[in-house]
Structures are given as C-alpha cells and as structure tokens.
C-alpha cells in the first residue's frame, strides 16, 4: 500500500514537470510564429511595391487579412477577386432589424460589404427572439439597431456599421437612402413598402424586397436595370383587412429566416455585379409543402405613378406624400385600437375583476379563435370565436339561464354578459353584433386579456 502511494506521488511530479516543459515549448512556438508572420507581412509589402502588376493578389487592393477572410469567395471562379472588390466598395441599407433583417444583416456583415446601414426604431422583446436571430436575451429592452450593430461588428470588425435609430419616414428617407448603393426592405407593413419603393425610385436605388407571413415568403428585386417597381405591380394598395401581421397571424421563425438569407444573396449579387438578380421575377416560398416557385412578372409599367413615363414623383412630392393615408394603415407597427362602442357598453379589466370578486352572476364569452384560446384563457370563460358567434347564440342564452339559476336569482334579474378577446377589438365587434341580435346588455372588456395581464394579474401570460 505504502509503496503504491510513493509511486503515485512520483508519477504526479513527473506529469507536472512535463506539463511545465510543454507550456515552455508552446510559448517558444508562439513567439517564433509571431516573428514569422511579421516577416511575411513585410515581404508581402515588398512584393506589392516591386510587382505591382503581378498576379499574386497584390494589385487587387485586398489586404492579406482580407484575402484570408474572404478566401472562399475568391476561390469562386464566377465571383472571385473582382466580385469581392466590388462588394468591399459597396454600401447596403437594411430597413428593419426584425425577422427578415436579422439573417440578412448577419450575412451582409460576414460577406464583406464595405458599409452597412441599419434602420429601426424598435427595442428587442422576448417574443422577437423566436425569429429575429441577430438579437440575444442580453439585449431585451434595448435598441434593435444597437443590438444588430454589435452582432455585425463582432462578426466583421472591418465592415463599417452605421446605426439609424429612428423610424423610417418621408422626412428622413431621402437623406438616409441617398448614402447607400442598395436597399433591403425588411419591414413588416404596407405603407413602409410603398414609401421605400418610391424613395428608391426617386433616388434610382435597386430595392431588394422580401416578405414573410405564416408559412409563406416572397422575394423580388424592384427598380433594377429597367425592371418593374413595387407600384408597377401593385398600383393600388390592398384593403386594410387583407394585410395580416405576424403579431396577429403568426409566423414560423425560419420562414423569414430563409427569405432574409435570400435578400442578402440578391443584395450581394447586385452590389458585386455578379449573377442575374431576381428582377422582373418573383420567388414564392411555400414552407409547408417545401415548394419554391419562380414566376415571371410584368415589366416596368409605362403608366406607373412612381416610375412610369408620365410619373410626377419627385423628392418634393415624395416628402409630401401621406403613406399612412394612402394605404389606410398606420406606419407604426403597433396594434390597431378600435373604438366602436359607447362607454356604457364597455367595462375595464379592473372593474370586471371587482365584479368577479364580488361574485356577480355573469357569463364571460371569449371570442378569440380556438387556437388562441388554447394558448391561455381565463378559467371562467367559454370560447365562442367571433366567426361562429351568430350561429351559437343559443349557447349564450343557455349559459345565462344556467348562471341565473345557479346563483338562485329570481325571475326578475338575469346574469350579465361580458365579452373578451386578445386586445379589445374583436370583443367590440362581437358586442355590436350581440346588441343587434337581442343581447342588449352585453359589454366588452376594454383592452382584452392584455389589459387583464397589465392591470389585474401580471402573472397572466401575454403573447
């Protein structure tokens, strides 16, 4: 036993001594490597000056670090030194640092675009992280532009990143866009899309347009090389209720991810003058069936109000144009707040919580779609989606009767009827409908479940 212990101790000492030697040798190697690197840099500099027309990557303006960093691009025969040099000289503006902008920015920073501008006025929220992959938990509550810029800089410190921490408006659009060669539209609403298009037409900038919602994505390049612009395709804005938002309809994170990557690809092609940009064509992604189709679009429209032969769009008319009014959609991406009912037909979430605490006889109808109800609901509510409300009135009558009976109310009084939804818009529509169908005492809970969470029960989940 004792001799074993002595033997083990001797082995440990030997290991320690060898490790010390190893560290010493590693330090010597590092020092020699650094010396060698310095010699190579100096000799390259000599080469550059003495063989300025040589073909050793010396006359192309790429530093040794750049050659090493972008070597996989330089090895592509169809991209090569010229493509990379064009890219390094170019500038790209990405409007929106969300689901599309996140992957687009990561690739644009990595690939060696000379200067990248990022426009956004929003802050990072927890429910962004499922798809806005450039942001991390550490940036929740902080500016999206700051977060995205930090991520881009940490990937490539040699790319210049310009932060535009402001909403994109007609008042600042011309000044911002004029500083860049290529524009990437990574916004999420109709008025911004028309505004960005018109700004690019006025300034003659190619526009890489991407959109994603649910499980579908769309991609095209506008205003490029005589091709059509957004208004050539869509001269009239769609009705407001046709414009679904990710915040209402949902989106699978990887779908804007795919489209954002493709936007980076098109921006790289346009900036490096390589390949055939997706102008006059549109790529349609259907994630559910795994299908991508590439369709042929009309050419530039001679009648187009932005880029047509008789278009009157100028810097001035652009600055004066009211895009929110044109599309009947606010430019800010905040949720819509309707006001359809009189105050008497509404009740706040705190008032409602008092009625619950006091035990007032009532029925609470939640008119959200069934898949919303499955996410979270108030325990005493019943789900009758707005789209099915008209056909399910008998259920409401029965519930009111049962509640009155359960609370042993006499024949004269009846239970109250309250309607709730996610944010208090559909509940107003439902109450309007219920009033016309005979349920004249129905009231809506102002601000819906979001208000309940903010004002009554902070533990109640929002989504």
């Amino acid at each position: 036993m004792e001799s074993n212990g002595v033997e083990a101790s001797r082995i440990r000492q030997e290991i320690d001594s060898l490790n010390a030697n190893k560290r010493n040798i590693e330090q010597q190697i590092s020092a020699l490597e650094a010396q060698l690197h310095q010699l190579e840099v100096n000799s390259n500099a000599v080469c550059t000056s003495s063989f300025s027309n040589g073909d050793l990557g010396s006359s192309n303006g790429l530093s040794p670090d750049m050659i090493y960093r972008y070597s996989r691009h330089l090895l592509l025969p169809s991209f090569g030194v010229q493509g990379q040099a064009n890219l390094l000289k170019s500038s790209v503006l990405v409007i929106g640092a969300g689901g599309l902008g996140s992957p687009a920015l990561l690739y644009l920073a990595a690939c060696g675009v000379g200067r990248i501008g990022i426009v956004d006025h929003d802050v990072v929220e927890l429910n962004n992280l499922q798809r806005q992959i450039i942001h991390t938990e550490a940036y929740i509550g902080k500016s999206k532009v700051e977060s995205a810029a930090a991520a881009c800089r940490s990937i490539n410190s040699s790319t210049q990143i310009v932060e535009h921490k402001e909403a994109f408006r007609t008042s600042n659009a011309l000044e911002i866009v004029s500083k860049y060669d290529v524009v990437v539209d990574a916004t999420d609403n109709a008025p911004s899309r028309y505004m960005i298009n018109d700004c690019c037409v006025v300034l003659g900038k190619p526009l890489i347009s991407g959109a994603a919602l649910g499980l579908e994505g769309q991609l095209t390049v506008y205003n490029y090389n005589g091709g059509p612009c957004y208004r050539c395709l869509f001269p009239t804005p769609p009705p407001t209720n046709a414009c679904q938002r990710c915040a209402d309809s949902g989106v699978l994170g990887v779908v804007p991810g795919v489209i954002g990557c493709l936007q980076a690809l098109e921006a790289i092609k346009v900036a490096s003058l390589v390949g055939e940009p997706l102008s006059g064509r549109m790529l349609l992604l259907d994630a559910l069936s795994g299908r991508i189709r590439n369709v042929k679009l009309r050419g530039r429209s001679l009648q187009c109000e932005a880029c047509g032969d008789h278009a009157v769009l100028t810097r001035q008319t652009f600055s004066d144009f009211d895009y929110a009014k044109f599309t009947q959609t606010p430019l800010s991406t905040g949720p819509l707040t309707l006001n359809l009912l009189t105050p008497d037909d509404r009740i706040s979430s705190t008032e409602y919580s008092k009625k619950v605490a006091e035990g007032e006889a009532h029925v609470l109808v939640d008119v959200r779609p069934a898949h919303h109800y499955k996410i979270v609901s108030l325990p005493n509510s019943r789900n009758i989606p707005l789209s099915t409300l008209e056909g399910r009135l008998s259920e409401i009558s029965a519930a009111l009767e049962e509640e009155a009976k359960r609370r042993t109310l006499d024949g004269g009084s009846s239970a109250s009827l309250f309607v709730i939804c996610r944010r208090g818009n559909d509940s107003q529509r439902a109450v309007q409908l219920l009033h016309t169908l005979g349920f004249t005492s129905a009231k809506d809970i102002i601000g819906g479940l979001e208000s309940w969470s903010h004002n009554v029960d902070p533990k109640f989940p929002t989504y």
């Binding site: 959109a211 994505g217 869509f234 804005p237 046709a242 990710c246 804007p256 349609l284 042929k296």
Partner: protein, 99 residues
C-alpha cells in the same frame, strides 16, 4: 377543361384553407373559349366560400392579388382576356407585408 388552381398568401383562407384545387370547368354556352374573366366568376361562385370581397373587386381580382397563369404574371398574357387551355395552372396569391 381540367385546370389546377392554387391559392396563397392567405387567399386559401377564403376557400376552407385548401390551397390546391383540381377543377373541371367548360366554356359557357355559345362560347368556344374559356377566358380568365369567365374563370374568375366561376371561381367566385364555386370555390370561394367566404368574404368574396377579399378576392374580387368589380370583375377582376382585388388590389394586392397577383394572378399567375402557368407561372407567368397574367399582365403578360392579356389579364382578363387570357384564354385558358387544358391543364393550365392558375395561381392567385396575395402580396405579403410581414417580416
């Protein structure tokens, strides 16, 4: 005449969330050809189940809907006057704004 119709960008919600419809439709009495104009009214009656105003406006599609006949913008084939042929593929897709 057999045609394949596809709805996308949310328009499928107007027809029971079914994206692909294989249909059989013939030119109306006295007409030799089936045009997109004929097809639109047929679709409105036979395929669209709700909110037809989200699909049509007047005798054409509503603003924001792209119509593709065999993967080509119908502007290039004559819009409403496009003459359809056996096995043609017609796509109706709503432009997306999300991101």
């Amino acid at each position: 005449m057999q045609l394949t119709l596809e709805f996308g960008g949310g328009l499928e919600l107007l027809c029971d969330s079914v994206k692909i419809h294989n249909i059989n439709v013939d030119p109306q009495d006295g007409e030799k050809q089936l045009t997109m104009k004929n097809l639109l009214s047929w679709v409105c009656t036979n395929v669209i189940k709700e909110r037809p105003e989200m699909f049509m406006k007047g005798d054409s599609v509503r603003p924001g809907v792209l119509v593709l006949v065999n993967d080509t913008d119908w502007e290039l084939s004559g819009q409403l006057e496009t003459v359809l042929e056996e096995k043609d593929n017609v796509v109706f897709i709503s432009t997306l704004h999300g991101g």
